[in-house]
Symmetry: C2
């Protein structure tokens, strides 16, 4: 369930890491790093800024994480770990498609709202060519998608939904839900200041589920 996902080590194998204490501070650093990386991605982030946000001297971050890249990797692992299970919880053969799909969409939208920084960091990583998460994409994620695709295909075979390319259906669901985290500036700017966040996410949920449920021809 919450086994942390490990990005394969890049160059030197992740440093001794003895049974050391590594107490409280690391959590504060990770949280601050997630916030800072979320605005502007890896290159725009400043170690000094993360340190300030965490209320610690810069040298302390280096004590715990060594380099900026390793801190970044730790943040990414956190995000991936949290992500991998949302899909597995909803897209299962037993569940009726209407419930599974709308539940999944709702969960993804709620996540986009609650933790937009995570989504944005991942987006920036992909935009930048996915140098770090490539192994995850081609490995674990690919495997998960093919499992979930089997579920979709089975629903179609049982006549519960229309035929559709399952992988692309997921690409579309991810795109639509995460756009509300990644590009929320655009959404807020277009909808204008008079639209509340509640309204936005309610309309988003209605629209996305309508597109997906009817688009897949889900029988009620």
């Amino acid at each position: 369930m919450d086994t942390p996902f490990r990005l394969p080590p890049l160059d030197p194998p992740d440093a001794a890491e003895p049974g050391a204490p590594r107490r409280g501070h690391t959590a504060a650093i990770l949280a601050a790093a997630e916030r800072v990386f979320a605005r502007g991605g890896f290159d725009a982030a400043r170690m000094a800024e993360i340190a300030a946000e965490a209320g610690l001297p810069k040298a302390n971050l280096h004590y715990y994480f060594g380099t900026k890249e390793r801190l970044y990797r730790a943040v990414l692992e956190d995000i991936i770990t949290q992500w991998l299970d949302a899909a597995a919880a909803w897209i299962v053969p037993g569940r009726p498609p209407a419930e599974a799909l709308s539940g999944y969409i709702g969960a993804k939208l709620a996540d986009a709202r609650a933790r937009p920084g995570a989504s944005r960091i991942f987006a920036a990583e992909l935009l930048g060519g996915a140098r770090l998460v490539m192994p995850f994409l081609a490995g674990e994620l690919r495997r998960r998608v093919s499992e979930m695709s089997a579920v979709i295909d089975e629903w179609a075979a049982r006549g519960l939904i229309d035929r559709i390319a399952p992988a692309h259906l997921f690409f579309c669901i991810w795109a639509m839900t995460q756009t509300y985290a990644d590009f929320d500036v655009q959404i807020r700017a277009v909808l204008g200041p008079e639209t509340t966040e509640d309204e936005t996410f309610a309309a988003a949920a209605a629209t996305v589920t309508q597109l997906v449920l009817r688009g897949c021809g889900v029988r009620a």
Copy 2:
């Protein structure tokens, strides 16, 4: 039609700019800049790299564009200019909804395929908080969306499609089509090396149009 969109000047009003020549080289610089900005966004881009890619000494870029930020702004203006008209060409009241929507989706997907860099630069700009394009989002784009929303609402009023929140419909269409440019690493990794680009985009077009047309309940 192709009136270049101008981002409002930031600090000093865009430098004298006399009736000067400004010949060929600027185009080469802009093209190189688009390519370099596309991988990694503003901060990751190096002026020296752009110069190398354009086959010019770095000092030459500064001669034409002054600062990195101004060069970046020029690239963004290029992109926005090209973008504004795709929607206006397809989403018009006269056209039957099925044709308009599938045409628009096709055009956006073709653009994502042909010029992924442009989409990625814009995505990175939004992720980074849209410091430069904010006026565009809240101004011109917002206006266009409300115009296009009127078209959607009119189709719904005439019973040609179901009721749907028009702005969110556009957010979803943009998200689904641009994901094929922005996150193509992820898509390629998940689909695996045996899937060709042609297959990918054919399936993408089929899936997105199916979701949108049926999702909106477009009558044939």
